[in-house]
Subunit: 269 residues, 2 copies
Amino acid sequence: MTIIESVTNPRIKRLAGLLASKKQRDKYSLAAVEGARLCAEALEEEKNGRLHVVSVFASPQAAEKYSGYIDPKLFENDRSGKFVMISERAAQKIADTASPQGIFAEVEFWQDRLDAKTLSPLGRYAVLDGLRDPGNIGTVIRTADALGIDGAVLVDCCELYNPKLLRSAMGSAFRLPTAYAQSMEQVQEILSSCGIKTYAAVVDKDARDVTAAGLGAGCAVVIGNEGAGLSVKDADICDMKINIKMKGKAESLNAAAAAAILLWEMSKS
Amino acid sequence: MTIIESVTNPRIKRLAGLLASKKQRDKYSLAAVEGARLCAEALEEEKNGRLHVVSVFASPQAAEKYSGYIDPKLFENDRSGKFVMISERAAQKIADTASPQGIFAEVEFWQDRLDAKTLSPLGRYAVLDGLRDPGNIGTVIRTADALGIDGAVLVDCCELYNPKLLRSAMGSAFRLPTAYAQSMEQVQEILSSCGIKTYAAVVDKDARDVTAAGLGAGCAVVIGNEGAGLSVKDADICDMKINIKMKGKAESLNAAAAAAILLWEMSKS
C-alpha cells in the first residue's frame, strides 16, 4: 500500500476537479462523492449492480476513523488501484466541505434511467422545475426515495452530480431513478404518452385542494422554483393545478417542505 | 438626511455586533434582521402591534433598489433617528449574507409569548427538541406558520434570533408564538396541564402510524435532532410515539421534511 502525498498527482488532481467543477464531471462522465457514509452507500449500491465506483480515496486517519463504514482492509489489500490512500494534507486540500472527513469516491454517471420505457402508468413521480438550490433538490430526492416515489425528473435544475445535492440527498440520489428534461412540454409529452397525469403545485387558491385531487398511482407532482414558484406557462401545460391549503399567515412554503407534503399525499393512497 | 459613513460609528458597531453575536443580542435584548423583505415584514408586524422595530438601516443604493418593500421617504423625512442611511461600504462590511442587500433592522426581542396562560387545549403545537441547524429550525417555523399551527416550543435548540434562522423562516418567526423550554420534562408538564397531548416523532416502525394517531386539535408534535432523531428518554416522556411509514429505501427523512408531513397531518383535521 502506497500513500499518494502530492496534491499534483494526476489522480488527486482529477478528483479535486470532479469535486469542484461540472465541466470536469461532464468531461469524464464521473461524479465525486465526499464523506464516509456517502462513499459506503455508493459501494453498497455497486453491490446491487446500480452503480460503478471507479475509485475510493481516504487518508490513513479517515480510513481508521470510519472503518465502520468502509473496511480498511480494502485499502491495505488493494491491487487494482481502486482503493487509494492519500495524505491527510491532500484530503483536506481537495475537500468541498467545511469539516472534511477525508474520504472520497469517484462514481460513473448513473443517471438517465428514467425514460418512456421505464415509466409505469401506475408509477408516482416528482418533477422539479427550475429549482435553484442544490440542497433543496437533494432534500426532495431524499424525501421521494424515503416515501417510495418511483422517480424524479429534473427540468431546468442543477445537475444531479452537484456535490451539495449529493450530500443533502444522503445516498438517495444513487437509488431514485432520475432523468433530465429540456422543458416542461417534453415532460408532459412523455408522461402523457405513458398515461401519467401531471399535477402542477401552485399557490393559486382556486386550484384543486391537494387532498381532493386524487393524487396516487399514475400521477406526477410538478414543483417549481423556490422563490417564484412554477411559471404560469409550465403550470398551464400540466393536466391539473393543485394547492396546499394554508390556514396560516405565511405566503408560501419552502420548496422542500411543500414537496414533502405533496409527495406524502401522493404516496399515501 | 445624513449618511453614516464610518464603520466605527457606535450605531453601526452595535448593528454589526447584533448580526454577529448571540452575546450582543442578549446584552441589548435586540435581534438584527437583514434583507429588504424581512425588514418590510418586521415593519408590517410592528403596525399590527406585535413587534417593536428600533432602527432600520439602508444604503442609498439599497433604499432605491428596494423601494417596493420600504418607502424611501421614511429615510428622507426621518427626524426620530429610526430610519438611518449608511454608506454602501458599511452595509457590505457588516452583512451576514454572501450577497448583501444593504438593508437591516434592529428589532426588540418578541419571543416568550407562549406560556401556560396562552396555550389552548384546542391548539396545535410544534416542539423542536435538539435541532442543530438554524436553517432547519427556521424552515419548520415557516411551515408551522403557513399551516396555521398555533405555536412552537424550542428545547435545546439555537435561539430564535439567530440570523440564519430568521432568514429561512421568512418573517414567520415574527408571527408564530414561540417559547423556549429547559427540558422535555418541562414541556410535557406544561402542555399536559393544559390538556394537550404530546406525540413523539420516531423512526421506530412499531410506533403508531401518523395517519392513525388522531393528530389534530389539542396536540403537539415533538421533532428531534437532524442526525440522531429524538432521544429515547425524551420520546418516552411523550404521551404517544408516532412514525411516518416509509415505503422507500432511505432510512430517514430530513428533519424539516418530516416536520412538514407531521404538521400537515396535524393541521388537516
